[in-house]
Symmetry: C2
């Protein structure tokens, strides 16, 4: 469900996987519904057409997992999730707030959990961020540690390696004023960082009682070419966001995300202060869109065989 850029990537990843079969697709856009799926995806993908609604996309198939990519905020997509659950589908969604819905929407989370249990299906929000680099991978790495004192994860993405829409999404080319206006209107900024911080704390066994978030622009010190457009000196090149988890006023988890045109030393770096200390580096960082699609597709069979209810990535097994 949802054949935007990421949804199409997910569909193509599903076609490449030996574990799942792509049986249908649905989107709300009139420009897509009724089109042959192969035409939309640009690759051979079966004979079905994009359906207008979920029920007709699924038909009479059983054991279906909905791969869902329509929105970042849980209230936006709640009706879609409930409809899927009612149809008896498991759900794996890119919805960032669904990665840890207890954080911002505990009542909606409870509602989803109850509905999923009643329908005997399983619902999961995942992706690369939230869902992998800043939470699931951290919890996995911390398996070799004793009690964890502090976790720091930095993710630095050079937006030039990403599509233009993402460069725009992080504010590249804006003035500082325009940047903060969009932040205030909640139209700019990565959704899900605090969810990752909460998941990360839970996954390594730290009880945080407070979380703080910050978002500031990364400004271009000189003209930055090489992206979809030139970012002039003094303009916004991208975002720097942080989410911090605290216990008794003391910082326990610090996640820092930089996505900017021209960002240097792109990498994902996990540093766990514990006995023993662990540092884990992914040079260049996990590629965003393609990796997100794979994470969703690889999770589908795991979600299908999990206990019914609302799941988090911390409960997923390591293997395919």
């Amino acid at each position: 469900m949802g054949l935007g850029f990421i949804g199409q990537e997910i569909a193509r990843a599903a076609l490449r996987s030996e574990e799942v079969e792509l049986i249908g697709a649905t989107d709300f856009s009139p420009s897509l519904t009724g089109k042959k799926i192969s035409e939309v995806l640009g690759v051979p993908a079966g004979t079905f057409k994009v359906s207008k609604d979920l029920a007709s996309a699924v038909g009479k198939r059983r054991g279906v997992v909905l791969l869902h990519a329509t929105g970042s905020k849980l209230p936006q997509v709640m009706d879609q999730l409930l409809e899927a659950i009612k149809l008896g589908l498991c759900v794996v969604s890119t919805c960032e707030e669904l990665a840890f819905p207890y954080f911002r929407h505990p009542a909606l989370a409870d509602q989803l959990d109850a509905a999923a249990k009643k329908a005997q299906v399983t619902v999961l929000g995942t992706g690369v961020n939230p869902g992998f680099v800043l939470d699931r991978l951290v919890a996995t790495a911390a398996q070799v540690c004793g009690p964890v004192h502090h976790v720091k994860v930095t993710r630095v993405v050079d937006a030039r390696t990403r599509r233009e829409a993402l460069q725009r999404k992080v504010g590249a080319g804006l003035t500082e004023d325009e940047f903060f206006k969009l932040v205030d209107a909640e139209q700019l900024g990565h959704v899900g960082l605090a969810e990752s911080a909460a998941l990360c704390a839970l996954g390594v066994g730290i009880d945080c009682d407070d979380f703080e978030e910050e978002i500031v622009p990364v400004l271009a010190e000189e003209d930055i070419p090489g992206g979809a457009f030139l970012v002039k000196a003094g303009r916004v090149a991208g975002i720097f966001q942080s989410a911090v988890g605290l216990a008794d006023g003391q910082e326990k988890v610090r996640l820092e995300l930089t996505i900017a045109v021209g960002a240097e030393d792109a990498a994902d770096t996990i540093t766990i202060d514990a006995e023993p200390k662990v540092t884990l580096v992914i040079p260049g960082g996990v590629a965003g869109d393609r990796a997100t699609a794979n994470v969703l597709v690889n999770a589908a069979p795991r979600v299908k065989s999990a206990e019914p209810g609302l799941l988090t990535v911390l409960e997923l097994p390591a293997g395919r």
Copy 2:
């Protein structure tokens, strides 16, 4: 069970964990049985004494997980595992061959699985290697990948950072002749590398039909000081081992383990050839003994809440 060096580390890790409680200990050595546990561990650890047998160490406690550290090879420890299962205990063991017993001992694996299911308990072999760096972490990292074409993992350990027993265990100080005699007698070499290769392949979704193992000495090019003893030029400094998984004669998984006095650039490095490619580096590498103890203790609550039967680390969830 088993209060050798690693067993004692496990007991101390259990004391530090908020998730488990150390309730008893057993060892076969007459020099340990009857001693107070605090005396054996050198830290306050409760009032019980080291028992001569498992049943009396457990007493009437229910919901017990046995942390087991007595041997590397499955046939050696089979009776101990079956006894624990019969007593209704879940088991988490350092036994390297138990990490993927289907590889070398399919009949014993089936026997354990049946016994565990009958007793409604769960049995797992884990550690850092096998159990984490070369298999579980690889499978986790590959969640962001599409179909995996090839995996290479290298683990380089400078044995000078480890205890003397480990330096001896990898042959440091021997002549080449002595080294190969011990290898032929199966008294030298890391146990579990091929098990990791099989687990790794399974975890990333590659069907391997053949596995090859190799072990050769790392020779000291000059005198190497700094270890528990001087390794003279020309003598063995440690081991280089590899395990390769193949499909239709083509290499798909390559694990390379170097443990040598003076080994340079100690690190764990995972390289996954897929779309997207992923490289993951742990500079310095995951520390061996302490980390192994933590992995076992952190797995205990997960194993207790898992389905009955024989488990592999690929089925463990990410979080604590």
